[in-house]
Structures are given as C-alpha cells and as structure tokens.
Point group: C2
Chain length 243, copies 2
C-alpha cells in the first residue's frame, strides 16, 4: 500500500501540496473517483476519494478517518548527540522511524565535535521513512539543545535513561533490557552521547536529576548504533515479544 502526506485538511476535504499532487496525478495517474490513503503526520490515516485530480493541488474527500494509525505501544524520545558524519545520524533517525520513535532531539554534549545541527533535512527523511513504514505519525524532530538543557527540561514522570561508557565510582549501570522489564509502559527518554562520550559532569547532572544509568551491552557501539540498539530494546520488547 502507498500513503500520501497531506497537511491541508478542512471540512472533510484534503488538499495535497504540489509535490504530492504531482506524484498522485502525474506519476501514478490517479483520476477523480480513485481511492487514496492520506496521512497527516499526526497519527491519522484518511481513506479518501480523489475528487479533483489537479496536478498541482489535488483534492480528496475523506471517507474514513483512522486515528493512531501504525502507532507503536510505547512512547520514546531519543536524545542523541549528532555524529561527526551526518549521514550516520540520518541513518539512525530513518531506522528509528521505521521501528517506531516519537521524537528525536539532537543534543549537544560538552565533548560533541559537531555543535551545529540542521533539522530540515532530517525532517524530510523522517517523512519518507514514515510513509515507507506506514506510520501515521511522523516523529518530531526538536531543535538542538545542550545535554544540560535537555536534562534540565526533562519530565521527571518519564522513565529517563542515560547511556555512557566510562566507569563512574559508586554508580552501577543497569542493562537497558532489565530496566524496561522492571518498568514497562512508562513513557521514556534516552540520552545517547557523542563519539567522545558524555562528560563526567553531564553524567553526574543526569544522575542528580534522577536519570537511570544504563548500558547497551558489552560491544563498543558507534553513537548511531548505540542509539538504534536502545530503540531496538523497546521495539523487540513491545512488538517482537508477546506480553
């Protein structure tokens, strides 16, 4: 099945933008009367009937609305420091979207080499990954903030995890799988550091704020692989294992 993105919806009528209209009408040669599946990127799938096959502003009438379409049974925000090579971050974000993630926050750590991050390109990638993996909701891409700022702003009611690789005296990092088994169903956020890892001050700040230190296994994983392993821990627990 193929779904098309539509932001402009009012009075039961969806108006496609130029790009999607061209794809629907010129490329796929849909005609008035054809059935179309549109999604608004906010969780809704709309089964529609194409009413105006304009190649620049096609319109479709909503026949049925399906909320929370393709939603995963967990809530997960990934706060991940940008990788030196941008395509590695984009790869992580694409794969996380396919599996299922609610939000991606580029956080800048004290040891981050890349301190600037543009979100526009990533948003396009997540839109297309959401289409490909049939998800009604496109993961949010938040504007970059520092690790300290993210910790300060984080919701204390959420299951807040941080993964670092160094030893911190008196601190035991739990296996992420054990933490998820012990606290199922809670909305979660996970902090993943840069190639140079978090600073000890950032780690301590997270601990003081109530973050749970976790490890992602004994393998030395790249930043983007660690981030995806964390998403996988949720995906495998909630979607590849029966309750």
């Amino acid at each position: 099945m193929e779904i098309f993105y539509c932001k402009q919806i009012s009075g039961g009528i969806c108006t496609l933008d130029k790009e999607e209209s061209g794809h629907v009408v010129k490329v796929l040669r849909h005609r008035a009367g054809d059935e179309l599946s549109l999604f608004d990127g906010e969780g809704n799938l709309y089964r529609c009937c194409l009413t105006d096959a304009s190649p620049t502003a096609a319109q479709a009438r909503i026949v049925e609305q399906i909320p929370d379409w393709g939603a995963v049974p967990y809530r997960l925000t990934m706060a991940v420091c940008p990788t030196k090579r941008n395509e590695r971050y984009e790869w992580f974000a694409e794969k996380a979207t396919e599996m299922g993630v609610d939000a991606i926050v580029p956080v800048i750590g004290e040891h981050s080499e890349r301190r600037v991050f543009k979100t526009d390109r990533l948003k396009k990638i997540l839109l297309s990954a959401s289409k490909q993996s049939l998800k009604g909701r496109i993961p949010a891409v938040e504007e970059p903030c520092t690790v300290r700022e993210f910790i300060r702003r984080s919701d204390p009611s959420a299951l807040r995890l941080i993964a670092w690789c160094f030893e911190l005296e008196g601190v035991e990092r739990k296996a992420i799988g054990d933490v998820l088994d012990a606290q199922p169903g809670r909305p979660a956020c996970i902090l993943i550091g840069p190639e140079g890892d978090f600073s000890r001050e950032e780690a301590q700040l997270a601990l003081d704020a109530g973050f749970i230190p976790v490890h992602l296994g004994s393998s030395r994983l790249r930043t983007e692989t660690a981030a995806l392993a964390a998403v996988s821990a949720f995906y495998v627990k909630y979607l590849c294992t029966s309750a």
Copy 2:
C-alpha cells in the same frame, strides 16, 4: 584502545602487512619496544611488543594471547537477500558486526532484483567494523547462494528462523522474541527476504525443512532494517538483559 589486524603469525611473531605497518609506524609513529594489540580475525587478541618498526612489514612479539576476545554469548548466522541499493546491505552488515554476528550469507531469492553480489567490499567493511567494535573475530561473509540452496544446506540442529510478511494459510508466525525466549542458547540462523519478499514456494520449502516462521513486529521494515531488528533481538536478549 586501538587494535590492528594481522594474518601472518608464526613462532610467536606477528608480521603486519603493508597497510597496517604503515598505520602503526608512519601514522601512529610507534617504535620498537611499544606495546601493540593485534587480532587475527579468528577470535584471538594478541598483546604484543613491537620488535621491528618497519613501515612495510612491521613485526611484533606476542606477549599474551586472549582467545574468544570480544565474543558474544550467542551464535548467529544472518542469511539476508541483497538490497537493491548496496549501501543499505553494507550498513546492515556493519551494524550487525558492531552488535555481534558470526556469519553473513547473501542469499538470492526468487523475487530478488539484485542477483549478483560481490563479497570483497563487504569483507573490508566487516574488518573495519570488527576493529571499531573490538571484536576478535571478523564475521564470515559467505559466497552468495540461492534461498533454496541455503535452506537445503542448513543445519537441522540449529534454530532456523525465516521472516516473511505475507499470510500463508494455516501458518502462524511467532514473534521472534518469544522464539528466542523459548529456545535460548541454540546456534541460530535467520532468513530475511528481498524487497519483494520470499516466494510462497520458498516459504513452503523452509517450512518443510523445519524452519520456524517468525515476525519482526508490526512495523513495515525495509530489508536491512528487518535484518538488523533480528540481530538486535539476539543482542538485546543476550547482552542487554541479565539472565
């Protein structure tokens, strides 16, 4: 820590090839007497003392040998159909190596668009991923074979899984996490199909051979994402969850 690859080992002396010698001597400027960590790609890490800082054929004396270095506590062969775009397959193989996999077999399915696969480039990628993730053993990359051939050759004593996306009458696909929980510790192989999925004949052939049909969750995952989700199911169960 940095490790260097060395195939030529005899009489307690490791002789590095031109590339690694250049890296050790010219780039990192190691001198005779320096400590080096070498690995043979077959599971052994060697703590060595550099005895000859030749920029083309450096030699080091083995001080200590550590077998099964960086080994993961599961045995996994991934038989994955090549993706249309090669870099997606290479990405999967790199990430699977970081997490831990024993062998990768490019299998050609009846619906595979790419029917030719060169393994040389992939082997280089896995060598560098093994170095990066500190694994003494480089995953084997087998020569391509057809899905039918792989099924025919597969070891009946292994936990053999196949993931397809269509409905096959009378066949229930189990969640991969449940299968792993029910049969821990068995050497496993997993068949992942191409963009066009397996043919029903291939699926039936696998069933007849005793493969267990599994699903990888409700998300529609790309071939390379499905393959990594399967590796993640093992990685999370064995390395991110305490027994």
